[in-house]
């Protein structure tokens, strides 16, 4: 199973400061989870489910998808900082992750921007397996607001 292997200590958005490092969380992705993610995204590329084909293409095993790595980063950020809305997310896959390898996710607050009345924080992100960088990226977050949950029509009315 893909799981949070460390109890998350949730931080409040308003308490974060530039330079602060969020607690590391660890995750592990199983072959079943990789299969489920391929199925839900209708991605039929065999390197994600066929070990023979993955090895033929030079990989050690089937690979965790770029998209699933991104979702791990989202889970890490949303379980580390409470009540946030993610505005942008970037990540780049640097090396491959295969099933059952444990990864450590870390984040550091790199920038605080005040946009009108709203604060936005930029966090730099890393995901490593045994000190090998799997992916690196960044995320921009702000406080979650009630209007974020409005249905599109209600949102339009609210804006009007």
């Amino acid at each position: 199973m893909l799981s949070d292997r460390t109890a998350s200590a949730t931080t409040l958005f308003s308490n974060l400061r530039v330079g602060e490092q969020l607690p590391t969380l660890t995750y592990q992705v199983s072959a079943t989870q990789i299969f489920m993610y391929s199925a839900i995204t209708w991605n039929r590329h065999p390197i994600h489910y066929n070990q023979t084909q993955a090895r033929r293409e030079g990989h050690a095993d089937i690979l965790v998808q770029r998209g699933l790595l991104g979702n791990l980063l989202v889970r890490y950020v949303t379980s580390s900082v409470s009540s946030i809305y993610i505005q942008t997310l970037d990540w780049k896959v640097v090396s491959s992750l295969t099933p059952d390898q444990i990864v450590q996710c870390t984040a550091t607050v790199s920038q605080l921007t005040q946009k009108d009345w709203q604060a936005e924080l930029q966090l730099s992100l890393t995901m490593k397996h045994d000190n090998r960088l799997i992916c690196a990226g960044s995320v921009a977050i702000r406080s979650l607001e009630e209007r974020d949950f409005l249905l599109p029509t209600a949102w339009k009315k609210d804006k009007g």
Partner: protein
């Protein structure tokens, strides 16, 4: 190599509570917000939101196998460069609002660029694909710029 920015795919997707539940299970997210039981409006299903990267579940078209490239990678990578194998490289996402159950999302993808690069093991091609997601009101929901590596 330059591209004219014309869409390589454009289609609509009706989001259901089942899609959201399954996506949340696939990514291992146990947040109860993504696990509302059915499509009964009284259950709150109408206001059920999807995880931020749910757009990934809508991005690939329902193409039959014979319409995919030989390596069964996504159809948008079926472009005429010498590379035979593909892997995902990087993503940039912008999120404008949550996707809700019941939303009808229009997905439109364009190839932005193909860049040739010398890698450690030989020549490779970076294919940059932009996908825009808009809802039934024409409002932007999310945008992704994905980079795939072909070699």
């Amino acid at each position: 190599m330059t591209f004219n920015g014309l869409p390589i795919k454009e289609f609509c997707y009706l989001v259901t509570t089942r899609d959201i539940r399954r996506f949340a299970q696939a990514i291992g997210d146990t947040n109860p917000r993504y696990q509302i039981a059915d499509d009964d409006p009284s259950s709150g299903a109408q206001s059920m939101i999807a995880p931020p990267l749910f757009c990934q579940a809508m991005a690939f078209q329902d193409l039959p196998l014979e319409n995919l490239p030989d390596d069964l990678s996504p159809a948008e990578l079926d472009i005429s460069v010498p590379g035979l194998r593909s892997v995902g490289g990087a993503s940039h996402y912008e999120f404008y609002q949550y996707v809700h159950a019941g939303d009808k999302i229009r997905i439109r993808s364009c190839i932005e660029s193909v860049t040739e690069k010398q890698g450690r093991t030989g020549l490779l091609f970076l294919v940059s694909v932009t996908t825009c997601f808009t809802n039934q009101l024409g409002e932007p929901v999310a945008k992704e710029v994905a980079t795939y590596v072909k070699r």
